[in-house]
């Protein structure tokens, strides 16, 4: 029996490469918030704040995260938080950083994909150009979740939303590449299905001075039409099928993260990732093939860039 215990524990440690005592015990998002059951964005934010610690100032743009805070005059946020208008999260972060000059205090801006790749992109670009010392986190549920799942620039090809009922015809914007083109000191992509990888990236980002960007893929049960318990599993499938790459970029040098290196060597078919989600249920065979070809092209591109 003891042997079984030790073996299972080790096996687990290998599979995920982490052990819990490296995670802070403190919770900065209090229980009883209004997120949907099974919201992986909340897993991501929970670990981001755990990694950042108590000396953190948070800005939240109009998105699901602001609704999740709860009903006035109460909030689930146990960190000083400023809720901002939709388009200006990064601009307000610049303002906060001008007031809070102490490097020991982190400024973290949180926004959804719509608030980042569509309406907030000019504020983000400006804040990076001004060299604001802050971390911008875009959690990507691939639609305007808060207002009822309309398509955003970050919705992937083929996904049906309330405004693209027969599937989106355009590709997902590569926001990480757009931000990378600003020659940003640190940028990374992450997924809450790999929480230790996420926490490590947050800690690394906050140790660097200047603008930092984190793009987090967060499966959304109502929007992606998956059951509430499957969010973490679907995030893992996104990485394993190479639909989403986990990497870091420091001063224009790209480092692929381990889960994605493993995935690139032996990717699972894209179909395994798409077929579990209701939003792709109307995708035709041709579109499925086309989507797989796009993924293959991405794999070839990143192979060349990182020499894997």
């Amino acid at each position: 029996m003891v042997l079984v215990f030790v073996m299972s524990a080790d096996k687990f440690k290998d599979r995920h490469g982490f052990w819990t005592n490296t995670i802070a015990r403190e919770e900065y998002i209090l229980k009883g918030n209004s997120s949907c059951p099974g919201c992986t964005a909340m897993i991501a934010l929970r670990h981001i704040f755990k990694a950042a610690g108590p000396d953190t100032f948070v800005l939240v743009g109009a998105c699901c995260a602001v609704v999740c805070e709860g009903v006035y005059p109460n909030t689930c946020m146990a960190l000083p938080t400023l809720d901002t208008a939709f388009a200006c999260t990064a601009a307000m972060a610049s303002g906060v950083r001008a007031a809070v000059t102490d490097r020991g205090i982190n400024v973290i801006a949180i926004a959804g994909d719509g608030g980042t790749v569509d309406i907030g992109i000019q504020a983000l670009s400006g804040a990076i150009e001004r060299n604001t010392d802050f971390l911008y986190v875009c959690y990507d549920n691939e639609a305007y979740g808060n207002t009822g799942m309309q398509r955003s620039g970050s919705t992937p090809f083929g996904a049906s939303t309330t405004t693209t009922p027969f599937g989106k015809k355009e590709d997902k914007k590569d926001i990480a590449a757009i931000v990378g083109a600003h020659n940003i000191p640190y940028m990374a992509t992450a997924c809450p299905s790999y929480p230790m990888d996420l926490e490590r990236k947050v800690k690394r980002a906050l140790s660097i001075e200047g603008p930092k960007f984190l793009h987090v893929l967060t499966p959304c049960p109502p929007g992606w039409r998956i059951s509430a318990d499957k969010g973490v599993e679907v995030g893992r499938l996104a990485v394993r099928s190479c639909s989403f790459f986990l990497y870091e970029m420091e001063n224009r040098e790209l480092f692929m993260s381990k889960p994605s290196i493993d995935a690139m060597k032996n990717p699972i078919p894209l179909r395994d990732y798409l077929s579990v989600q209701g939003r792709f249920s109307r995708m035709s065979e041709e579109d499925m093939k086309l989507a797989q070809e796009k993924v293959n092209a991405n794999i070839a591109y990143y192979r060349e860039v990182c020499g894997i």
Partner: protein, 80 residues
């Protein structure tokens, strides 16, 4: 100059007792548990403590903990 601001204060249960939303409740079988802490790490609500107790007042019953448990020690039981 007096500035009027809407200030909210940190409260447990800012959106009410979210445990009332639950259809299935997670029940941990301590005999099968291998203490991997998957459930603690992946719970979106933080309702599983590091000592592996579930706070049923706020657990929304999403089932992620049961889905991520490698030894199937968590069962989702229908609420009465």
């Amino acid at each position: 100059m007096k500035v009027k601001m809407a200030i909210s204060y940190p409260t447990v249960g800012a959106s009410g007792r979210t445990g009332d939303w639950r259809v299935f409740r997670p029940v941990i079988n301590q005999k099968l548990c291998i203490h991997c802490y998957n459930c603690y790490v992946f719970c979106p609500e933080g309702t599983i403590s590091p000592e592996l107790g579930v706070d049923y007042e706020y657990c929304k019953g999403c089932g992620i903990c049961a889905n991520e448990c490698p030894s199937k020690a968590i069962r989702m039981v229908k609420e009465e």
